[in-house]
C-alpha cells in the first residue's frame, strides 16, 4: 500500500510563491491509493498552500504534481477537479446564498443527485436532513462542515482533499466527523487530510506526512508515529499524555 510507484498522488519538488513569499520550498511526498493520508504540521507550515496547489488554486512555480499517472501541475482548477478530486477548504466554502440542497445539487456535476448516494450521506450525517432547505449562511460551523463534506462525496471521487475539518468545532461534532471519516474509509475513496489535531487523526490515518516551513520533514505509516512519543514531540511538539 505504501508503494510510491502506485501512489494516487505524487508531489515532486513543489515550490509555490504567493506574491513575494516563498511558501512551499520543495515539497515532496506521495499519497498512497485508498485509506487516509494525514498532512500534519504547525500553523503556517504550508499545509493549506499544499492542498491549494494540488487543486490548482495556487500555481506551483516549480515542480511536478502527478495525479493517477497524469501531470496536473499546469492544469486549471476545473480540469483538475473533473479528474476526480474534491476539495473541502479550511473555510468550508459553503455557499451562503444557496440552500443546503442547492449546495449539493451544484456539487453533483452530473446534474442530478443520486438518491441512494444521498441516503448514504444522510446516514452519515443525520442532522443534514433537518436543515436541508436552509440557506448556507444560516448554518453553524458544525453544520457547514457537514455540508462541505457531503458536497465532496455526493458523487464518487478518487481523492478528497480536506483542510482542517475539525477546526473550531465542538468535541461532540468532532466525534461525529470521525465516525463519518471511518465510514468513508470503507468506500474506496482516498483521503488527504490536513489536520493540526493529532489526536483526531492518530487512529484514523494510515499514512502520515509532516510538514514544517514549507518542507516535508517526515513521512511514514501512522502506526509508526502514533507509537513513538519522542517522535511526536520532535515533530509536533506534543507532550506525552499523562494518563
Amino acid at each position: 500500500m505504501s508503494d510510491p510507484n502506485n501512489a494516487l498522488l505524487k508531489l515532486h519538488n513543489i515550490h509555490t510563491h504567493i506574491g513575494e513569499y516563498h511558501i512551499l520550498q520543495g515539497v515532496e511526498f506521495f499519497v498512497p491509493r485508498q485509506g487516509v493520508t494525514v498532512l500534519l504540521g504547525r500553523n503556517g507550515a504550508g499545509k493549506s498552500t499544499t492542498l491549494r496547489t494540488i487543486i490548482g488554486l495556487w500555481q506551483a512555480s516549480q515542480g511536478l504534481v502527478e495525479f493517477d499517472g497524469e501531470n496536473i501541475t499546469q492544469m486549471s482548477t476545473p480540469d483538475i477537479a473533473r479528474r476526480g478530486i474534491a476539495f473541502v477548504p479550511e473555510d468550508m466554502g459553503v455557499f451562503a446564498n444557496l440552500t443546503v440542497q442547492e449546495n449539493l445539487q451544484l456539487a453533483a456535476i452530473s446534474g442530478k443527485i443520486n438518491d441512494s448516494r444521498l441516503q448514504w450521506i444522510f446516514n452519515l450525517f443525520p442532522a443534514l436532513e433537518h436543515f436541508w432547505l436552509r440557506p448556507g449562511g444560516t448554518l453553524s460551523g458544525g453544520q457547514k462542515q457537514m455540508v462541505a463534506i457531503a458536497r465532496a462525496i455526493i458523487e464518487p471521487r478518487k481523492l478528497l482533499l480536506i483542510d482542517e475539518p475539525t477546526k473550531g468545532l465542538a468535541p461532540a461534532i468532532v466525534q461525529n466527523l470521525a465516525k463519518a471519516f471511518r465510514a468513508l474509509k470503507e468506500s474506496s475513496t482516498t483521503i488527504l487530510l490536513v489536520e493540526q489535531n493529532f489526536h483526531f487523526v492518530r487512529s484514523l490515518g494510515d499514512h502520515v506526512v509532516v510538514m514544517d516551513s514549507g518542507l516535508i520533514v517526515h513521512t511514514g505509516p501512522m502506526s509508526e508515529l502514533s507509537s513513538d512519543e519522542a517522535l511526536q514531540y520532535r515533530l509536533l511538539g506534543l507532550q506525552a499524555a499523562h494518563v
Binding site: I55, L57, S76, T77, P78, D79, A81, R82, A86, F87, P89, G93, F95, A96, N97, L98, T99, Q101, E102, Q105, L106, A107, I109, G111, K112, I113, D115, L118, E129, W132, L133, R134, P135, T138, R151
Partner: protein, 338 residues
C-alpha cells in the same frame, strides 16, 4: 424519502424574499410625491416617465452590476454598448422601415422588436470581442480595468463616429406606437408603458433564471466564491464570458429602447448615462439584480420629482440619493449577490 423531487422554486423562496424594504421605499417615495405635486395627472405623468426611465436604466445597468458582482470587473466601457445598440437600432430601423411605418400596432411593435433584437445580437458579439481583448488581460487589477475600459470606450465611440458619421442619428418612434393612453383624467404615453412592462418582464425573467435554473445557481455561487465553484469542476470562466455578453446585449437593448425614446441622439448617448448607471450599480449593491432594479427606479423617480418640484436641486439629486442610500445601507440596497 427523497427530497429531490420538490421543485426548486418553493425551496428557494425560504429566507430570501423577506427583504422588501427597498420595494416599500420606492412605493413610499412615489406616494409621498403625490400630495407634493398636487395634481393627479401630473403625478401620473411624472411617475410613469420616471418608471420608464428607471426601467431603461435598469436594463442598461443590469449588465454592469452583474459583471462587477460576478467577475469583479469594473467595465467603464459599458456605456459603449448602449451607444452601439442605439446606432445599430437606428440603422436597422431604416432597413425595416416598412414594418415600422405600418399603421398596425402589431406590425410596428414587431418591427421594433426585430430592431431591438438586431441591436442585442450586435452588442452581444461586440461584448464577446470586448471581453477577449479588453477585459481578460486585466482580470484582478481594478486600476488597469478602469484605464483600459475607458480607453476601450473612447475607441468604440470613435469607431461609431467613423462608421456612422458625426451627425445626429434619427430613430423615430413608429406612428402606430405613439400616442397616449387616457385613463380618467390621467394621460400616459403608450411607449412609456411599453418600457415599464418590458422592464418588469425582464426583471422577473432575470430573477427566475437566477433562482430557478441551474445556471442561475451556478452564477449565484460564482458571485460568492469563484474559487470554490472552480474547485467543484465548473469552468466558470465560460460562464463569465457568457454573462458578459449577456450584459452587453442588455445594454444594447437598453440603448435601442432609449434611442426610440429620445428619437434623436449622438455617439455620446451612452457616455451621458454612464454616471447614472454607475450610481445605480453602487446604490443597488454590486452584483445584485434586485438592487439594480430598485436603485434605478429610485434614482429615476426622484430625479423626475425633484426636477419638477425643485428644479434648482436637480443636478445634485443623483448624488444626494447615492449618499442617502449609502448612509442607510453602506453596501447598497442589497448586499452583493442577492
Amino acid at each position: 424519502m427523497s427530497l429531490n423531487n420538490k421543485p426548486m422554486a418553493l425551496q428557494s423562496l425560504q429566507g430570501r424574499w423577506t427583504d422588501f424594504a427597498p420595494m416599500i421605499l420606492v412605493t413610499m417615495i412615489a406616494l409621498f410625491a403625490w400630495p407634493l405635486i398636487g395634481s393627479m395627472s401630473t403625478w401620473a405623468t411624472l411617475t410613469v416617465a420616471g418608471l420608464a426611465m428607471g426601467m431603461m436604466l435598469f436594463i442598461m445597468a443590469s449588465g454592469l452590476t452583474l459583471v462587477f458582482g460576478l467577475m469583479d470587473v469594473l467595465n467603464l466601457g459599458h456605456a459603449a454598448f448602449v451607444a452601439v445598440g442605439a446606432y445599430v437600432a437606428a440603422s436597422l430601423a431604416g432597413v425595416l422601415s416598412v414594418l415600422l411605418k405600418s399603421s398596425t400596432g402589431v406590425e410596428a411593435v414587431a418591427g421594433m422588436a426585430l430592431v431591438a433584437l438586431g441591436a442585442m445580437i450586435t452588442t452581444a458579439l461586440l461584448g464577446l470581442l470586448f471581453e477577449r481583448f479588453f477585459i481578460r488581460p486585466v482580470y484582478g487589477n481594478h486600476l488597469k480595468q478602469i484605464l483600459i475600459t475607458i480607453g476601450a470606450m473612447i475607441i468604440i465611440e470613435q469607431l461609431v463616429l467613423a462608421l456612422w458619421g458625426a451627425q445626429q442619428m434619427m430613430l423615430p418612434l413608429p406612428e402606430a406606437v405613439r400616442g397616449t393612453l387616457v385613463i380618467g383624467e390621467v394621460a400616459v404615453e403608450r411607449y412609456r408603458l411599453v418600457a415599464v412592462v418590458l422592464g418588469l418582464l425582464l426583471y422577473l425573467g432575470l430573477l427566475m433564471v437566477f433562482n430557478f435554473t441551474r445556471i442561475g445557481m451556478l452564477i449565484r455561487a460564482g458571485v460568492e466564491n469563484r474559487d470554490m465553484v472552480e474547485a467543484m469542476g465548473y469552468r466558470i470562466q465560460r460562464v463569465f464570458v457568457a454573462v458578459f455578453a449577456a450584459g452587453a446585449a442588455l445594454a444594447g437593448l437598453g440603448g435601442a429602447m432609449w434611442g426610440f425614446y429620445r428619437e434623436q441622439f449622438t455617439a455620446a448617448i451612452g457616455a451621458d448615462l454612464l454616471v447614472q448607471m454607475l450610481i445605480i450599480v453602487v446604490i443597488g449593491g454590486l452584483g445584485s439584480v434586485r438592487g439594480c432594479f430598485f436603485g434605478a427606479l429610485l434614482l429615476a423617480l426622484i430625479q423626475n420629482y425633484v426636477n419638477f418640484l425643485i428644479p434648482d436641486f436637480a443636478m445634485v439629486s443623483n448624488i444626494s440619493v447615492m449618499v442617502a442610500v449609502l448612509l442607510w445601507r453602506p453596501s447598497g440596497l442589497y448586499a452583493p449577490g442577492r
